[in-house]
Subunit: 155 residues, 2 copies
DNA sequence: TATTGTTATACTCTATAACTATA
DNA sequence: TATAGTTATAGAGTATAACAATA
């Protein structure tokens, strides 16, 4: 049972019983890191999602749009505008595999962008990973994966 | 430096270099827990955000709408439809403090809803907290708060 | 029959700007 | 001048349904 709380709130803010909840802390921490990542990527003109797609294509040459959607839990329909932005930008190219699939790859021009994205993400991650020692960081990552695995993964 | 990856993806899916990133794992884990919480609350007709507001008012009688917004990082403008739903439902009532502030409280009728919400959130949290021993859970919560505190808190 | 890529569309969340009335 | 509450609105992000072409 979660005990009802009647203690008065301090001058700094309200008493927040949600602070003890894993889901609440997860959501707030995620929002903080996403905002920080968005700022770190702003100069590239990419959103965190677009940057993720870029890194995933780079690590999986010849993958398809549907593959990416499955890996990142993005619906096929929502992949379309995401991909068309990266294609128009000339960072990604497509080659037909069969009549319906297209193999994705980073263009020669896109390589520099990928490297820049990698550096920016790395610096961003260091801001937060630096708060933990190696053991604690591994425990955090493992814990988060455990949470993800608790329920069958999203679409 | 994040090493470039060239290993082939297994048949189960793509190779995902984002798996080593705290921000990525945070986002995915948060999405999983939010979806699970949404399902746990569905029968109450409340969203996770509305349920959070309810618990926060219950823990902070006579708080204002703006107080809640600050505690939950919800902009004043976005609090309006949230509050009006809870008011129309008869779970929350308002009493004027001065000419501009209104003190919020849970109605007599709303108490049962708060209790139900508390139980549902508790069962939901147990699904995930149950994966950790007490020490690991404390470390997770503390780690998430540390991440939040790394950057000055959101609006 | 299932899958790829696509269009169109709707719904939720979040963000900004502006207004009023109060302090 | 700053704050509480409100309105209107714009922009993301995400969801479903449907379609054509292909496997």
């Amino acid at each position: 049972m979660i005990a009802p709380q009647t203690a008065p709130a301090g001058p700094a803010g309200l008493h927040n019983p949600l602070d003890a909840l894993l889901g609440y802390q997860l959501r707030r921490a995620s929002t903080v890191m996403m905002a920080h990542l968005g700022a770190a990527l702003a100069e590239t003109g990419l959103t965190p999602t677009e940057a993720s797609i870029l890194l995933l294509i780079d690590a999986n040459p010849a993958c398809t749009q549907s593959d990416l959607g499955r890996a990142l839990a993005i619906k096929r329909a929502n992949m379309v505008p995401l991909m068309s932005g990266l294609l128009k930008r000339g960072a990604v190219e497509r080659a037909p595999v069969d009549g319906r699939s297209q193999a994705l790859s980073i263009t020669a021009n896109g390589q520099a962008l990928v490297a820049d994205v990698r550096n920016r993400i790395h610096r961003h991650e260091q801001c937060f990973q630096g708060q933990f020692d190696a053991k604690a960081l591994d425990a955090m990552i493992a814990g988060l994966q455990l949470i993800r695995a608790t329920v069958q993964d999203e679409a």
